[in-house]
């Protein structure tokens, strides 16, 4: 019904005549007759805006909106300040393309430059790119960055997110390289296994911090093992945790990557998210994707441009190390606004609240008979519990509008963010207690 074509039928006819054609299908005279769609598409008739809105709203209504989400595992339900939602919906930002024309794109270019700076500050690294698709692809791109002629094997911790491992595996399989998964022991990367797997052909070791089970790894120690072997060290870190946690730079990482979704992006059934990537000056030119640099125009005014473009596919073609073109620019801007709204103190505060509330829930759950933590040691805002009747527990929580922990091997993987109040957590504990007490 609506196709957003503004020209009136009369205008279209006149335009066609101006071209010297009689029928609209004359525009398609190069298309072989036998493949032209004679009967049109087998699709429903178009709708008005009112009807389309109704139809899509009806779909949204078939989803369940939980009051409390205590599940993370790669998608984190944080509070998004109102200003963070509002600014990226400005039409100039929303509807622009990649800023190829610097003279009319300074706003976007400067926002990316600011984003790059904030990612550097958060991770302690020297250089950030303008973003890649998500945390999983960021890890995959990092593994590609590390490969040279002598070293092609990538190692990844088995305690990384399964989607990250599988995405890195796919990129490696594509390029004809090997990926080996380092075994997990007691919820953490097994250092002895890592030591054995670090052979001279290993290009990089990828560690997730905190890991998939929420636990803090011995990031410095594991990284040192990789470096002793002459391999690069890649850390994938939760950016909210970095509000208080030791930075990848402090842990000795050569490349810092991660899922930027917690920085003000809605969980949105999985996307769009944000892959951040940062590295040391030494490896700057190996970074894939767009990078914005500062320079000047002919009158000496500060100007921002897409820089170091000769690394990229549109110039290097089959010799480019990545094919990335579109990235997640608007998500990167959203993350910058989030970090500006939180500030240095707010970033620490949100991290501490996540950590404190997760610790509180873990402690309270463990007061219930039959509930215990699956793993010892420090966790950030996710932890695994062992308990009986997990199906019933989750069903009871669900009924109360609470999305409980994710069933994983060994138990339930819970996540607590600053959004959950003490009352929410107490309610959760009492429901669990009730189910298990039956």
């Amino acid at each position: 019904m609506g196709s957003y074509v503004p020209s009136t039928p009369a205008q279209r006819q006149e335009m066609l005549e101006a071209i010297g054609l009689r029928e609209f299908m004359d525009l398609y005279r190069d298309v072989p007759q036998e493949v032209l769609l004679k009967d049109g598409l087998d699709l429903p008739a178009g709708m008005s805006e009112l009807e389309a809105g109704k139809a899509v709203r009806a779909m949204a209504a078939r989803n369940k909106i939980y009051d409390v989400i205590l599940r993370g595992a790669g998608a984190y339900d944080h509070y998004i300040p109102s200003i963070v939602r509002y600014i990226p919906s400005k039409e100039e930002f929303l509807t622009a393309y990649t800023p190829y024309q610097a003279e009319i794109s300074q706003g976007i270019l400067q926002s990316i430059f600011e984003y790059q700076t904030m990612i550097c500050e958060l991770t302690g690294m020297d250089v950030s790119n303008a973003s890649v698709y998500d945390g999983a692809t960021a890890a995959a791109e990092a593994s590609t960055m590390c490969v040279d002629r002598r070293r092609s094997v990538t190692l990844i911790s088995g305690a990384a997110h399964p989607d990250t491992i599988n995405t890195v595996r796919t990129y490696c399989f594509g390029a004809g390289r090997e990926l080996k998964v380092v075994p997990v022991k007691d919820g953490r990367t097994d250092p002895d296994a890592l030591k054995e797997m670090l052979t001279p052909d290993v290009s990089s070791f990828i560690l997730q911090q905190p890991n998939f089970f929420g636990l803090l790894e011995d990031a410095e120690g594991l990284g040192a093992l990789a470096h002793e072997n002459g391999s690069m060290y890649v850390m994938s870190c939760n950016p909210i945790a970095l509000g208080t946690m030791k930075t990848p730079r402090e842990c000795g990482a050569d490349i810092a990557v991660g899922e930027g979704q917690p920085l003000g992006l809605p969980i949105g059934f999985g996307g769009p998210y944000l892959g951040y990537m940062a590295t040391t000056s030494k490896h700057m030119r190996k970074l894939p994707g767009r990078i914005v640099g500062a320079t000047a125009d002919d009158e000496g005014r500060t100007a921002y441009v897409l820089s170091l473009q000769a690394r990229e596919q549109h110039i290097r073609r089959e010799k480019a190390s990545s094919n990335i073109c579109s990235n997640e620019a608007l998500c990167a801007m959203t993350a910058s606004i989030y970090m500006a709204a939180m500030g240095p103190d707010g970033m620490e505060e949100v991290a501490l609240q996540c950590h404190s509330k997760a610790a509180y829930l873990a402690r309270e759950l463990c007061t219930i008979d039959g509930v215990s933590l699956a793993y010892d040691g420090t966790f950030f805002h996710e932890f695994v519990t062992v308990m009986p009747k997990t199906d019933e527990v989750l069903a009871a929580l669900d009924e109360a509008g609470i999305l409980g922990g994710l069933p994983v091997e060994g138990g339930l993987l819970w996540c607590v963010t600053e959004k959950a109040s003490r009352a929410d957590l107490d309610r959760t504990v009492s429901i669990v207690k009730e189910v298990l007490g039956k």
């Binding site: 609506g2 525009l27 087998d42 003279e103 400067q110």
Partner: protein, 473 residues
């Protein structure tokens, strides 16, 4: 314009979070960062004004004509944004139980059925996050197909020299040797060059049709037949799908798999460089090779190994936008969009003729290429100079210096959402500039004049990279 960091005032903050209502716990010593990140400290007023200032230095589709060839900068309907922001989508966890996400699955299934019908494919995945990412996924389908048959001698992907740079880069990422074949003078596939390149080492062909100069390759059935005869598969780069929706389907042209850019063809906004979404479709026989989330497979008890190109199920909220658009267009609106995209391109090309020269003087598809070489000979002004001059008239320049087979190329794609009045205005601007090139070439060479900055020194940016702000002192 000041950087956000230069506007920071120590101690200034927003009130976002409540007091922590449980006992505060710090990470153990030794696990904490040494100092806080140097993020800006702002009020909400500061933040709001900063970004408002930035947005005044951006040209989006809503600011004016944006004929950026190959990027399909059509209008992005507001209803799409409203739908994507619904809490029933934005607040849904990707790992919520199946019962709780029925609406999300309905979005994906409905969008898939529309896109399968439009592309002539049997199966669709939304996991890829962008066009190039879709290419990667598609070529990985081809790779898995050959590997599964034990056909490991197929090591080459054929790519025409007129292709987007992502095509050869993608093939290389998938471990293939890239065979670049010369195009015929009209940018179409040179059948002899194709035949010479085909062999039992051919894994597949990557092709855009209409091609990158905006011409529909009339030999398309012969091309896909030849590739199939050699045992290869055909990949359709959907970058130019906006020309042919509802008129002809890639699946019927003989393609085995395809990606579509939801952020081009299906009206979702490009956000200054993303997020996009690259839906990938394939024929039935490739279905088993489609990507899946390892974690979601685990939860479903699906033990089969799948490739995976990113986490979960892709840029879902982008799919919501595209679906809203598709529902509105429906059976009649989809071809209407394409026919008018082609009409607009031909009309604009016709009205520019007589000044700047079309590289191919024939009916084009949804875009056309101007060859500025003659103009350059006469005036000394390049395609870059023309592009920069257009800015002063409030027009976003066309794509410059692409495709590579036309040396002084300006690639113009008006899209169907521009009115005749806008096209008449744009043609006038091109004609004026053509004359200006002869009257005052120095002025044009120094353009743009009315922008916050003049042409930036890109050599300096590349030689001395300054890629982040550093505090003074």
């Amino acid at each position: 314009m000041k950087l956000i960091f230069d506007k920071s005032v120590k101690g200034r903050r927003l009130t976002i979070l409540p007091e922590c209502d449980v006992e505060r716990e710090l990470l153990p010593e030794g696990e904490r960062r040494a100092k806080k990140p140097l993020l800006p400290e702002m009020s909400e007023t500061d933040i709001s004004r900063h970004y408002t200032e930035l947005c005044k230095q951006v040209h989006g589709v809503n600011d004016g004509f944006y004929p950026l060839g190959s990027c399909t900068m059509k209008y992005n309907p507001r209803i799409n944004e409203e739908m994507a922001a619904l809490p029933g989508f934005a607040g849904i966890h990707p790992l919520a139980p199946a019962d709780a996400v029925k609406g999300c699955m309905e979005v994906l299934d409905t969008a898939a059925s529309y896109l399968c019908e439009i592309s002539g494919m049997d199966e669709m995945t939304f996991q890829p996050a962008a066009g190039a990412h879709g290419e990667f996924t598609g070529v990985m389908l081809i790779k898995q197909y050959h590997v599964s048959r034990g056909d490991t001698k197929r090591t080459k992907i054929i790519v025409p020299d007129s292709a987007h740079g992502t095509n050869p880069a993608t093939a290389a990422m998938c471990g293939y040797e890239v065979v670049n074949i010369d195009s015929a003078p009209d940018g179409c596939v040179d059948l002899d060059a194709l035949k010479a390149a085909l062999g039992d080492d051919t894994a597949g062909l990557m092709l855009t049709n209409p091609n990158t100069v905006g011409i529909f390759d009339e030999n398309i059935l012969e091309i896909t037949r030849l590739v199939h005869e050699a045992g290869g598969l055909c990949y359709y780069d959907g970058a130019n799908l906006n020309a042919v929706m509802g008129v002809v389907r890639p699946g019927d042209m003989g393609f085995d798999c395809i990606h579509m850019n939801l952020h081009k063809t299906f009206s979702t906004p490009h956000g200054g460089g993303g997020p996009g979404a690259g839906a990938v479709g394939c024929k039935e026989f490739l279905k088993e090779f489609m990507p899946a989330s390892a974690l979601l497979s685990l939860m479903k008890g699906d033990a089969a190994e799948h490739i995976q190109v990113r986490s979960f199920m892709g840029n879902f909220l982008v799919v919501v936008r595209a679906l809203t658009y598709l529902l509105m267009l429906g059976r009649e609106g989809v071809p209407e969009a394409s026919i008018n995209a082609v009409l607009n391109a031909n009309y604009l090309m016709q009205k520019i003729k007589g000044t700047f020269t079309p590289a191919f003087d024939r009916i084009c598809m949804h875009e056309f290429v101007l060859d500025v070489a003659d103009f350059k000979k006469a005036t000394g002004l390049s395609a870059l100079d023309v592009a920069k001059s257009l800015i002063d008239y409030g027009m976003h320049p066309p794509t410059m210096y692409f495709p590579l087979i036309v040396h002084e190329a300006l690639m113009v794609e008006p899209t169907e959402t521009e009115s005749r009045e806008t096209l008449d205005w744009a043609a006038d601007v091109f004609r004026k500039l053509y004359q200006l090139g002869f009257d005052d070439p120095e002025y044009m060479h120094a353009s743009p004049h009315g922008t916050p900055i003049g042409r930036p020194d890109e050599v300096r940016a590349a030689r001395n990279p300054v890629l982040r702000w550093v505090p003074e002192g």
